[in-house]
Point group: C2
Chain length 215, copies 2
């Protein structure tokens, strides 16, 4: 069977469109054009149409898209029709923030277990969840049928945590530790480095200086 | 003057290469090929060469790149030769995590002021910095010559915080609140939604199911 290769940038934008459509739906907006979607999220209308075209035909010429239909469809593409329970390892500042991050809950993600091997943290409560020792991971993963784990430990502990997650049957890992991890091919791994976002800003500020000097 | 248009995906990868080169330099690696960079960060060697080609000629055929030279050069492209002081608004869990996030310091970013209008948070210490009321922002921005602000407040307060930052002379904003902000054209704005990263994982897991069903 031929595999559909969708650029990651398209998936990222679909996720952005999807959240924008949710906002519109909450406001009671019924239909929207690709120009309005483009304006709302800051890309070109051609880009919106191209991104959606990967997944079929949408909208009616001259009428636009039905907001709720397109919202449901983008959710379905992103595989968000089912809730996604998560486990999180690392009960430091970042783990604490991630476990209560509202952006996750809004999209059907919920942290069902938080783990740390630091004895001073085990038993501490984050909202209404207790920090557990890593040994409890298999039980919680099985109980909630968890597929995705989040790593929020210091760089030096991250590989060990990834290995433990994989051993316990997780198939996807979101890694916040600033280090490259080695995982088998069948594991979906995504590294998040928050400084990348700042570096895009500093690059743009630099380009702007460069451009104004060139004028 | 002709403006150099570099795709954002290239900037993101440059930031990743740059951090990988730092790791290699710390390990004492002297030279590296585009194939090795590609392997280390999980992209194709052609992509590495294409990304670097936006900025000129690098490396020597058959020898590869000098790690330290390329590291300095990528830093320079990203405009990281100077330190970047930051102010952060929102002293909740996320603000707390961001203000102590090691990934920022490693790249020359440092939070020099943290603000909140919640009286129960003002005066609280995060590491060795005190949470200040928003009225102190002009003083701290001027003192440290801050250009970039981070928003880590709830969605409903984010626009007001952005307006305040702009009024106080900031030119770039990194927004972690899950809401679209309106800012003037001359302001660099970047929205971070951490759930995007999870949605790329769920998309990939969905595609995989789809592919295995099709076999």
């Amino acid at each position: 069977m031929k595999t559909l290769r969708v650029p990651e940038a398209t998936i990222i934008r679909l996720s952005v469109y999807s959240r924008y459509l949710e906002q519109l739906d909450r406001k009671g907006v019924i239909t929207i054009s690709s120009v309005e979607i483009a304006d709302g999220v800051g890309v070109s209308p051609a880009q919106v149409r191209k991104d959606l075209a990967y997944f079929g035909e949408f909208g009616t010429r001259g009428v636009g898209y039905n907001v709720r239909d397109l919202m449901h469809y983008t959710s379905k593409i992103l595989n968000l029709n089912e809730p996604w329970p998560l486990v999180l390892v690392g009960a430091g500042n970042l783990g604490f923030a991630l476990s209560t991050y509202k952006g996750f809950n809004n999209r059907g993600f919920s942290v069902v277990g938080i783990f740390d091997n630091d004895l001073t943290k085990i038993g501490k409560k984050i909202v209404d969840m207790e920090v557990s020792p890593p040994e409890k991971m298999p039980e919680i993963i099985a109980k909630h049928n968890v597929k995705i784990g989040i790593i929020a430990v210091p760089a030096k502990a991250a590989q060990e945590v990834a290995d433990l997650m994989i051993k316990n049957g997780l198939v996807a890992i979101l890694n916040f530790a600033p280090v490259s991890l080695n995982v088998p091919e069948h594991i979906e791994l995504r590294n998040v480095d928050l400084s990348v976002n700042l570096e895009i800003l500093t690059f743009n500020l630099g380009m702007r200086q460069f451009e104004s000097r060139g004028k």
